[in-house]
C-alpha cells in the first residue's frame, strides 16, 4: 500500500500531501493547547452566518404573526391595502413586484445573452476582458443612483418617446393589446420600473451566462462548423442547447435580484394607490417599495405587523428563487458569485 502510494502519480501524491496538511491543520495530530480554542472560535464565527439567516426568518415570522392571525390567508390574497381602515392585503404589492420583475427579465435576458455570446463567440481576445469589465461595472452602481437616473432621465424619456407616441398611439387601437396602455402616460409607472430593473440585472445575467457559454466544449462548435454551418447556426445548434440550463439559472439569479430591488423601483414606479391590471402605464407599488414608503408610518402594532409580513413574503419569494437559481447554476458550471463587484 505504502509502496503503491510512493509510486503513484504526482497528482496523487499531491493529493495525499494536501490531505496530510488538512489533517494537521484540523488539529488531529500534534494539536497544541490553544488550537482547539482557535478552531472553536472560527467555528462559532461561521455559525454566526447560519444564525443570521435563522434569526431573520424567525424574527420576521414572529412579528408577522399578529397580522397573519388577524387576516389569515386574506393577508396574501387581499386586494385592498388601507391602513386607515386597518385592511391589509398584500396581493397588489406581490402583483407589482412580479409584473415589474417580469418586464425587467423580458428585456434584460435577450440583451444579456447577446452580450455574453458576443464576448465568448465574436469578440477578439483583447476586447473580451474590457467589455465584461464595463458591463459588470453596472452592478457596482448603487441602486439609489439608478433610481435618481430613472426618476429624472429615463422616466421622462420613456414618457415622451415611447409611451405617448408609440404605446399610446399604436397599441391603443389594437384589441387585446390596448389593455396594456390604459390610463395616462406619466413616466412613473410599471414600465419605467421594469426598464430600470432590466438595466440593473443585465450584468448579473450577462456574467453568469458568459461563464456558462464559455464551458461549452470547443469540439461541439467545431463539429457544427465542419458541417458548413454559419456562425449563428453554430450558436443555435451547438452552443445554446448545451448552455440552456445554465442560462435559465442565470436569468433566475437576475430575477432574484429584481424581486428585492428597492430604491430604484421606489423612485420610478410612482407609488400610487395599487390597482391590479395589465396596463404598463399604471403607477404601482412593489413589495420592496411598499416597505420603504410605509415603515415610518407603521405606528399601530397591527400596521407594523402587516409591514413586516410584506418583508417576510418578499424574503420567502426571493429566497426560493435564489435557492433554485444557485442550484441550477452551480450544477451547470457557472459561478454564482461572478456577479458581485
Amino acid at each position: 500500500m505504502a509502496v503503491q502510494q510512493a509510486l503513484g502519480s504526482g497528482e496523487q501524491r499531491q493529493r495525499e500531501h494536501t490531505k496530510a496538511t488538512k489533517a494537521l491543520l484540523a488539529g488531529r495530530r500534534g494539536a497544541s493547547g490553544a488550537d482547539p480554542l482557535f478552531r472553536g472560535i472560527t467555528i462559532a464565527l461561521a455559525g454566526v452566518i447560519l444564525m443570521l439567516l435563522v434569526a431573520i426568518f424567525v424574527i420576521l415570522f414572529n412579528d408577522a404573526r399578529a397580522a397573519l392571525a388577524s387576516y389569515g390567508i386574506g393577508l396574501i390574497t387581499g386586494r385592498v391595502w388601507n391602513p386607515q381602515q386597518q385592511v391589509f392585503g398584500i396581493l397588489p404589492y406581490i402583483y407589482g413586484t412580479v409584473y415589474t420583475s417580469f418586464i425587467g427579465l423580458l428585456i434584460a435576458t435577450p440583451i444579456a445573452i447577446g452580450a455574453a455570446l458576443f464576448i465568448v463567440e465574436y469578440a477578439p481576445n483583447w476586447l473580451r476582458g474590457p467589455i465584461s469589465f464595463v458591463v459588470e461595472l453596472l452592478a457596482a452602481i448603487p441602486s439609489i443612483i439608478y433610481g435618481l437616473w430613472g426618476f429624472f432621465v429615463l422616466g421622462p424619456f420613456l414618457r415622451d418617446h415611447v409611451e405617448r407616441p408609440i404605446l399610446k398611439n399604436v397599441l391603443q387601437n389594437v384589441p387585446g393589446l390596448n389593455q396594456l396602455v390604459q390610463g395616462p402616460a406619466i413616466g412613473k409607472d410599471i414600465l419605467v420600473a421594469g426598464v430600470i430593473l432590466a438595466i440593473m440585472i443585465l450584468p448579473t445575467i450577462m456574467s453568469v451566462a458568459r461563464e456558462v457559454i464559455a464551458t461549452v466544449p470547443g469540439t461541439q462548435r467545431e463539429g457544427m462548423l465542419a458541417l458548413g454551418a454559419t456562425r449563428w447556426e453554430m450558436i443555435k445548434g451547438a452552443v445554446l442547447p448545451y448552455a440552456r440550463a445554465g442560462i435559465i439559472g442565470s436569468a433566475m439569479l437576475g430575477l432574484g435580484r429584481a424581486l428585492g430591488e428597492t430604491m430604484a423601483v421606489t423612485l420610478t414606479i410612482g407609488n400610487s394607490s395599487p390597482k391590479i391590471g395589465w396596463s404598463l402605464l399604471t403607477p404601482g407599488y412593489t413589495m420592496a417599495s411598499a416597505i420603504a414608503n410605509q415603515f415610518n408610518e407603521a405606528d399601530s402594532p397591527i400596521y407594523f405587523s402587516a409591514v413586516v409580513s410584506i418583508a417576510l413574503t418578499l424574503l420567502v419569494v426571493s429566497g426560493i428563487v435564489n435557492l433554485l437559481a444557485r442550484l441550477i447554476v452551480s450544477r451547470f458550471g457557472g459561478d454564482t458569485r461572478a456577479t458581485g463587484i
Partner: protein, 301 residues
C-alpha cells in the same frame, strides 16, 4: 438529406442537419442579422453605463463646491448648504459595519478555508451565498424589527451599522475564503513542520501572505455597503443635522440622495446629482484601486 440527425454527444442535444441547409444567401443574411443583433446587445450593455455616468457627471459637477463638502443641508427650498453630515454619517456607519463585519467574516472564512469540511462547512457556504442574494430591504426590516423597535425604541446609527455588517459578512466570508485557498500549502507545511501550532501558523503565516487579497475582499464589501440605501433608511432613517450621537438618527449619502430626489426643488435635485457623483467617485475609486492591487500579484513573498 438522407441523415436527419446524429448524436453529437451521448445524452446531449443531437445536432440537426436541417440547421445547416437552405439557400446560401438566406443563411448568410440571417447570420449577418444575428451577428449584428448580438454585437448590438454588447454595445447596448457598454453604452448604458457610459450614458448613466455621463448624466451623473454632467448634472452632478455643478453642485460640487467647498460648501457642499463642509456644510449641512440648507432648509428645503433654500439655496446653498451641503452634504457634510451625510458624508460623515456614511463613514461612521460603514465603519461600525466594518468593526462588526470584518472579524466575523474573516473568522468564518478562516474556518471554511482552513478547517472546513463536511456538512457544516457546506451549509455555511451555501447560507453565505444565499444571504448575499437576499433583498437588502428584508435585512433592513429585520434590523428595524429587532434594534429599532425592540432595543433602542427609535432610529439610530448603531442599527444602521449592524444592517451594513449583515450585508458585508457573507461577501467578506466568500471572497476571503477564496483568497486563503490560494495560499500555497507548502507554506503551511513548512510552518507546521517547525512545530508551530496551527493557530499561529494561520495567524502569522497564512493571513500575512494573503493580506493583499483579504484587503481587496474587505474593501469591495465596504464599497457595496457604502452604496446601500434601503437598509439604512429603515434603521438610521437620515438626518439633516450634524449628529455624533450613535443613539440618534444619522444621515448617509444614499438616504440624502433619496431625500433630495423626492423634494420638489430644482436646487435639491442638483444636490442629489452632486451627492451621487461623490458616492460613485468613492465607490469607483475603491473598486478600481482594489482591482489594480489584485492584479499586481497577491502572493509576493
Amino acid at each position: 438529406m438522407a441523415i436527419e440527425t446524429f448524436p453529437s454527444q451521448p445524452g446531449k442535444q443531437p445536432l440537426n442537419l436541417k440547421m445547416v441547409s437552405g439557400h446560401a444567401a438566406v443563411r448568410r443574411t440571417i447570420n449577418l442579422l444575428l451577428a449584428s443583433l448580438i454585437g448590438g446587445s454588447a454595445l447596448l450593455g457598454v453604452g448604458i453605463l457610459f450614458i448613466i455616468l455621463a448624466y451623473i457627471i454632467a448634472r452632478g459637477a455643478p453642485a460640487l463646491n467647498f460648501d457642499f463638502f463642509t456644510k449641512r443641508p440648507a432648509p428645503l427650498g433654500q439655496a446653498g448648504g451641503g452634504v457634510a453630515p451625510a458624508i460623515l454619517g456614511s463613514l461612521t456607519m460603514v465603519g461600525i459595519g466594518a468593526l462588526i463585519g470584518i472579524p466575523i467574516g474573516v473568522g468564518a472564512a478562516i474556518y471554511l478555508a482552513e478547517f472546513g469540511r463536511g456538512r457544516y462547512a457546506y451549509t455555511v457556504r451555501f447560507v453565505a451565498d444565499l444571504l448575499t442574494g437576499l433583498p437588502s430591504i428584508a435585512i433592513g426590516a429585520f434590523v428595524w424589527a429587532v434594534l429599532v423597535r425592540r432595543v433602542f425604541h427609535g432610529f439610530n446609527a448603531v442599527a444602521g451599522g449592524v444592517a451594513l455588517a449583515i450585508i458585508m459578512i457573507p461577501i467578506i466570508t466568500r471572497t476571503v475564503e477564496e483568497i486563503l485557498r490560494l495560499v500555497p500549502n507548502s507554506l503551511r507545511e513548512a510552518s507546521l513542520a517547525l512545530g508551530t501550532p496551527t493557530w499561529k501558523t494561520i495567524l502569522q503565516v497564512v493571513l500575512p501572505v494573503a493580506r493583499g487579497g483579504i484587503i481587496t475582499g474587505v474593501v469591495l464589501s465596504l464599497a457595496r455597503a457604502g452604496g446601500e440605501t434601503a437598509p439604512l433608511l429603515l434603521t438610521a432613517l437620515g438626518n439633516e443635522f450634524f449628529n455624533f450621537n450613535l443613539n440618534e438618527p444619522m444621515s448617509s449619502l444614499p438616504t440624502q440622495i433619496y431625500n433630495y430626489a423626492k423634494s420638489p426643488y430644482a436646487d435639491s435635485h442638483t444636490k442629489a446629482w452632486g451627492s451621487s457623483l461623490v458616492l460613485i467617485l468613492v465607490i469607483g475609486s475603491l473598486s478600481l484601486l482594489t482591482r489594480l492591487l489584485t492584479r499586481r500579484g497577491q502572493f509576493k513573498q
